[in-house]
Symmetry: C2
Subunit: 341 residues, 2 copies
């Protein structure tokens, strides 16, 4: 079984974006604020948007199940206030839940949170509770920079974030640490901000003792861990300078990397450097890079091809495809087992 | 001959830091502002600080020449105003120049600029002119984020930066794109901010047509290019999405990567992915990672060991060690040739 732990609903029907545009426009003229009930997307539209896109590619590539969350770049937590984020998160999470109900064998949801810069993160708890308890979400996406490229929140090791961590630990759901769109002209969203956030989050963990406070907290660093595996020697050396334990003891019980690295040499490095127990299969399909690589004739984001070609043992491939996901996402494992999978 | 194109004067005599601390303290009480002439560092002190450190390690490792610039994390362009940065840059550049005069066979200087957030970059030109014309500097370090982690300057493709580029082109000196210390709690300086800046700068070049305006402008992206080589497929794919030419045509006549990657798998990826003409040997010694790798028993930053062990042709190794540096740093080549080297 092949589980893709990083898929976003990037192909939602246009009505969603139209509603969001009305919501954003209404921030300056509140009387025109649309209610969530004004958005109408039928099951057929949802089915079509999935069958023609993610599900088609999953079948072509032989992927069985995707952990499916709202479009990351559209979270845009920097827009409006908590109310705006809250309504938007509820809508997006409901859509992913509905997709998971329409295609229960192929999608299982992960939640975006109604974060808002400077707002107490405990305001996110009700949405998190609803998504886990009512929608069967198996993970959350946590944005370490809800300002969208201005990095005004405290580091992930700060107590500011602890209310979220306490709930994550209680439910045993991991967080993918995933920023949203950049509104800072310096950072291209998918080419710089995403990768920078991955590296930044890892280093925030490294310099802190966060996982001493939360021994069972689990973070998934997407996009192959940003710059981290490529600079693994640098990070091992920095940990040593900072008198931290070896990275395997200090972080690797809690921090995991996905395989969203879009060429063979990158996956080869990832699987050579990072212990196999810390690598989870993902493609972020359909996402930032949708084209076909002229050097291979295959989609850049067909990451299964790279994992297949990597010089690893069959058992390692099982862990990357399935075993690690079941361990890191216990609610995913439970949901599968409940269906005899 | 082995040229290390990325060395900083991280071991300057303590008097330098003491003077800087007085300068910083005086920002709030201007009557106590020290003058540059109050800093006294004798040639013997300079010699000692180099012989016991950089030069000792260069000899141990068989490195012949270092392109030597002021300590990057101490540039701290966010501190004070242009006057503060200007005095500080002049002092630091003079010290690197003096080191190059004391050890003319082993060090050749590269300049930091007196950047200051929000200030017109043409204010940096006089220091640049002095460093090239009087001090024989062969390159500059350009900070894409003089705010120190708040990223308030325009992208490197913006016309804001063009006065510097015009002078660089006139003199044919490359810029290493190198940030300084982070004053944003989110970013660890050497573990996140440096690598993020490398990735960010590359993506700023990718999304723009900067090198159409400046076909001979040259940027060196340090720290092995941040996350770029590891995600080379992602960047190739993003360029394709953005209807840009192939990266080799779009950027690789102008953008180069150093070898400051502190483990074998990283250098193996770099040399596998990036054309050999775009890789320049460097160690950033003595820098961020000073310890010995317990996995190898050798210094993390002894990057020559990794280049030696990489699966590349002897001719490729010559280019990485010497040939590319002579091409990318024409004034370095001229200075060497003037000495019959």
């Amino acid at each position: 079984m092949i589980i893709d732990i990083h898929g976003h609903y990037t192909t939602a029907p246009k009505a969603l974006e139209a509603w969001r545009n009305r919501q954003i426009a209404a921030i300056k003229s509140p009387s025109e604020m649309p209610s969530a009930s004004e958005l109408h997307i039928g099951d057929d539209e949802l089915r079509e948007s999935i069958e023609a896109n993610q599900l088609r590619l999953m079948r072509e590539r032989g992927l069985d199940l995707t952990v499916f969350s709202p479009r990351a770049s559209f979270m845009a937590h920097h827009i409006g206030d908590f109310e705006v984020s809250s309504t938007w998160a509820a809508i997006c999470n409901e859509l992913c839940y509905r997709v998971s109900e329409l295609f229960p064998d192929s999608f299982i949801p992960a939640a975006m949170l109604p974060q808002s810069p400077g707002v107490d993160v405990s305001t996110c708890i009700p949405e998190l509770v609803k998504c886990v308890e009512q929608y069967g979400n198996v993970a959350i996406n946590l944005n370490p920079d809800p300002s969208g490229g201005h990095w005004t929140s405290p580091p992930l090791s700060d107590r500011y974030w602890y209310p979220i961590y306490e709930k994550m630990v209680e439910y045993d759901v991991p967080a993918m640490i995933h920023v949203s769109t950049s509104c800072n002209a310096c950072f291209h969203t998918t080419g710089a901000h995403y990768l920078n956030a991955d590296t930044t989050a890892f280093m925030q963990c490294l310099t802190s003792d966060l996982f001493r406070d939360f021994p069972t907290l689990k973070f998934v660093i997407p996009h192959g861990g940003g710059a981290v595996p490529y600079h693994w020697g640098r990070f091992r050396g920095l940990a040593q300078e900072l008198k931290k334990p070896l990275l395997k003891d200090h972080l690797l019980n809690n921090v995991f990397f996905d395989t969203c690295v879009y060429h063979q040499p990158g996956i080869d490095l990832l699987t050579r450097v990072i212990p196999v127990d810390n690598i989870l299969f993902a493609s972020e399909m359909i996402g930032a890079v949708r084209g076909i690589d002229p050097e291979t004739g295959h989609y850049f984001d067909d990451t299964k091809r790279y994992v297949e070609a990597a010089h690893i043992e069959p058992d390692a491939r099982y862990k990357i495809y399935e075993g690690n996901a079941r361990r890191v996402y216990p609610r995913l494992d439970a949901a599968l087992k409940a269906k005899g999978r």
